[in-house]
Amino acid sequence: MIDIVLKITLVLLAIAMLGLTYRLVKGPTTPDRVIALDAMGVNLVSIAAILSILLNTSNFLDIILLIGILAFIGTVAFAKFLEKGEIIEYDRDQ
């Protein structure tokens, strides 16, 4: 039973991925794309988690955490890029 539910969820997530990909491609603005990318990160976390349950393994837990961290850094970086047009400043006092 739970298997079927999980698999359906996976399919739904895959559809969500498709939608997000559409947004990523279409844009039209960069913030749209960044948000799509961030959401994809959340999606990835979900997929990894569900797969962990399906495969009955704890090996993917690290991945989930990692995706979380990366998505965070990525979003922050993009946010900064959008705001300042630069990701890493050399010396911000100048």
Partner: protein
């Protein structure tokens, strides 16, 4: 699944080749990125897919997937990361020095050697 992945890898290769044949340096480098993705997927496929649990001992399972391609891919990923980084920086410097990222203008002739 393996057949499907072979096709996917083939498509990635095709896309990569198409990009590498274009004029824009950026597209070329993106092409190399795609190429390495295709390579890794193909390598993984060659070990057989989903034939068992993840290759980590300790879980009760009868079989594991082939760890060798995974280890090889890991090495390959890291190496292609290094290459991509160098390539990118060279492209960046080339753009700085030569003022273009159009490969047609980067052809160079004996005259200016």
């Amino acid at each position: 699944m393996e057949i499907l992945m072979c096709i996917v890898a083939g498509l990635l290769f095709a896309a990569a080749v198409y990009l590498m044949l274009s004029k824009s340096l950026l597209r070329i480098i993106v092409g190399t990125g795609l190429l390495s993705h295709g390579t890794h997927l193909m390598l993984l496929t060659m070990g057989g897919l989903k034939t068992g649990a993840a290759p980590v001992l300790g879980e009760n399972t009868a079989s594991y997937t082939d760890p060798i391609p995974q280890a090889l891919i890991l090495t390959a990923i890291v190496i292609s990361f290094g290459v991509t980084a160098v390539f990118l920086v060279i492209a960046y410097r080339a753009y700085q020095e030569l003022g273009t990222d159009n490969m047609d203008q980067l052809k160079g002739t004996e005259a200016d050697d």
